[in-house]
Each structure stands twice: as structure tokens, then as C-alpha cells.
């Protein structure tokens, strides 16, 4: 096989998983559990995102979740294909989806910040 290929990718999935426990935990807590369901409105979100802490939280949440989840999706797909070519195609597709989603996600968050 191939000289420990994939070790970083795998490790990063674990690291992002740990990061997600914190980030996603906070995110969910604030949105759903802390008090009344925080109103998901333009104004509400904007107020939160104005604070740097929230900004960091939301952007890292986006990045971590995308990396972790798409790496996970890739693992799942890898379980159902054989052969290097198929694996390469999956990796490429997942990277493209990841980059586009991240770019689009960031782009979509900008209006809240500039609000």
C-alpha cells in the first residue's frame, strides 16, 4: 500500500470532531436550549455576529463541520468503491463541494456582519 497516506486527513477529522463538540455544542445551546428559541431573524443574527466571539465561533463551525462532515462522507463512499480511480474521483468531488460550500457560506454570512 501507500506509505501512510491519509494520516493527516484522518487526524484532522478527529481534531475537528473535538473542535465540533465545543463549537456545535455552544451553537445548539444558544439557538435552541438557552431560554426561548432565539429568534432566527435578520436582526437577531446580526446582533450576535457583531461580536467577535460569535464570528469566530460561526466561521470555525462552518469550516470544521464542512471538513469533518465531508471527510466523513468521503469515508462512507470509500467503503463502497474499490480502486484508486474511483477513490480519486470521490476525493476531488468532495474537495470541490467543500470549497464551494465554504466560500458560499462565508459569502452568505457577510450580510449579517455588515448588516
Amino acid at each position: 500500500m501507500n506509505g501512510a497516506k491519509g494520516v493527516w486527513g484522518w487526524l484532522l477529522q478527529r481534531v475537528t470532531a473535538v473542535g465540533l463538540i465545543l463549537a456545535l455544542g455552544l451553537h445548539l445551546w444558544i439557538l435552541h436550549f438557552a431560554g426561548e428559541h432565539a429568534a432566527l431573524t435578520m436582526a437577531g443574527v446580526t446582533i450576535r455576529l457583531k461580536s467577535l466571539a460569535y464570528m469566530v465561533l460561526d466561521f470555525s463551525l462552518l469550516g470544521f463541520a464542512l471538513y469533518h462532515g465531508l471527510y466523513g462522507l468521503r469515508s462512507v463512499l470509500f467503503d463502497y468503491v474499490s480502486g484508486l480511480r474511483a477513490e480519486r474521483a470521490i476525493t476531488a468531488a468532495v474537495v470541490v463541494v467543500g470549497l464551494v460550500a465554504f466560500g458560499y457560506g462565508v459569502y452568505a454570512l457577510v450580510p449579517f456582519i455588515t448588516g
Binding site: G3, K5, V81, G83
Partner: protein, 276 residues
């Protein structure tokens, strides 16, 4: 304690006999998977009534069928004492060695019938005989032999009892293929090394006498190796010798990460790195 050593399966396979626990039925029903891909369109199940004898194992029942009823039944066997690994089958919903499985025990589990299937997810050659080619190829691919590097001493290489004990569990594997058959990742990914090959790698990585540890890690810690293991533990549940393959594979992952952080060169050498 009466032993009927007449014309029983025992005579063919295990010699028959043993000890009696409680009163048993004088017949048990055996249902066996039958399939010859060259002749049959689809698999079928055949039912046999087997006269009960004390100490009868599932392997004995198969022999009884072969010798007394239906000579077309195909299955593997050799040692009839749970050490050669030939007779691993899927019996009443569990991976078991046919030769070690007492019919009495199955009855004690509350079953009234014995259901015998070949190792699931492996191509059937005939009836209970499966094609283990992929299992053997995977085993071979990890270079399962010692690579000592240093010049051999005149006498033995020393190894403390404690170090010997660490590999005991892994050395005890009988290469029966149950774990490979049970692992969901190997069901669907034909390139996956599977629990056995990786556990066997760990057997060498953890052996104080072996010198090619990084090279071995490089061989299995890849997209079709360690990272494909999702700690499903089916392998552990299936193993008749109670080997914990999952622990070994997790060890490989950990060791690979630290070797990577160390910048170990051996990781990149591939199979060549294992030549002395």
C-alpha cells in the same frame, strides 16, 4: 455415562462420545445451506434429521450427513479440536467453529434446530466451502514474517515473558477468516485489508524482535487499511479465539500518527522496505 460409538458421525469426525448433561432428544434437525454456483440457479436449504449422540458437535452432524445420507455435501475440516481454523461457519446466527460447537450447547441456548451457513460475504465454491482467496491475499500483502535486520545471534534472540505476553493474543489467531467475513467494511470494499491482516501487522509491530515497524505501518496505514476501520467490532465478536483485532488496529493508527510526527522514513518505503 453411555457412549454409543457405533455408526455415528462421531466415528467419522470426532470419534463420538463425551459427557451427558441432561436428557436430550433422540433426534436433532439440521438445516444446511446448499449451493453449487456451477449447477444451481439459487441457493437452497436442506433439512436433515440427525440421530442424537452424546458429545456430538456440529462437525459430527455434517459428517453424519456426508457419510450416511448425502455424499454431495461439501465442507472444510481438519483438526476437529479448534486449532486449524478450517471449519469456521455461521451457525445459528453466530460465527463458530463447527468442531468446537456442541449440539448440546445450541440446544441449551434454546434452539431446537441447527442452522449452518458458510462464512457470509465470501464467494461460495460449494455448499459450506467458501473462497478465501481475498483473505489470504490480504494476509500475504502485509509481509507476515519477521524482519529482524540485526545479525542473528548464535543462540536465541531474547524476549522477556512480559514482551512475549503482549503478542500472545495475536499469535493465537488460527486464520479462520471469521473476522474478515464479519467486517462490514470488507463486505463492500474489495480493497480493504480487513481486520485479520491488520491485526497480524500489529503482531509484528508489537514483537520486540521485529525491526521493520515503521515500514509495516506504512504498509497498512492507508486508505484501504487502518483508516477504513470504523471500530465496528464485528471482528471481535466473530473471533473464535477471542482476539481483539480492533485494539490492534487502533494501535496501528496511533503508532502511525506518532511515526508521522517523528518523520519516520520507513513509512514511505512500501513493501520494498520489508526486504532485509
Amino acid at each position: 455415562m453411555t457412549i454409543d460409538r457405533g455408526k455415528t458421525a462421531g466415528n467419522a469426525g470426532g470419534n463420538g462420545g463425551g459427557q451427558v448433561a441432561a436428557k436430550r432428544p433422540d433426534k436433532v434437525t439440521l438445516k444446511v445451506y446448499r449451493f453449487d454456483p456451477d449447477l444451481d440457479k439459487e441457493a437452497r436449504i436442506e433439512v436433515y434429521d440427525i440421530p442424537w449422540t452424546d458429545g456430538m458437535t456440529v462437525l459430527d452432524t455434517l459428517f453424519w450427513v456426508l457419510e450416511r445420507v448425502d455424499g454431495t455435501l461439501a465442507f472444510r475440516f481438519s483438526c476437529r479440536e479448534g486449532i486449524c481454523g478450517a471449519c469456521a461457519l455461521f451457525i445459528n446466527g453466530s460465527y463458530r467453529l463447527a468442531c468446537e460447537t456442541q449440539v448440546a450447547r445450541l440446544l441449551d441456548e434454546g434452539r431446537t434446530e441447527i442452522h449452518v451457513m458458510p462464512l457470509p460475504h465470501l464467494p461460495v465454491i460449494k455448499d459450506l466451502v467458501v473462497d478465501m482467496a481475498r483473505f489470504w491475499a490480504n494476509y500475504e500483502s502485509i509481509a507476515p514474517w519477521i524482519v529482524a535486520r540485526s545479525k542473528a545471534p548464535e543462540k536465541e534472540r531474547l524476549q522477556s515473558p512480559k514482551d512475549r505476553k503482549r503478542i500472545d493474543e495475536y499469535v493465537g489467531c488460527i486464520l479462520c477468516g471469521s473476522c474478515f467475513s464479519a467486517c462490514p467494511a470488507s463486505w463492500t470494499d474489495k480493497d480493504y485489508l480487513g481486520p485479520n491482516a491488520m491485526m497480524k501487522t500489529w503482531r509484528w509491530v508489537d514483537d520486540t524482535r521485529d525491526a521493520a515497524k515503521d515500514e509495516r505501518l506504512g504498509l497498512v496505514a492507508g486508505e484501504n487499511g487502518a483508516w477504513r476501520c470504523h471500530t465496528v467490532f464485528n471482528c471481535v465478536e466473530a473471533c473464535p479465539k477471542k482476539v481483539n483485532q480492533a485494539a490492534a488496529i487502533q494501535g496501528l493508527k496511533r503508532k502511525t500518527v506518532s511515526a508521522m510526527l517523528r518523520g519516520a522514513k520507513g513509512l514511505k518505503q512500501g513493501r520494498k522496505g520489508l526486504e532485509e
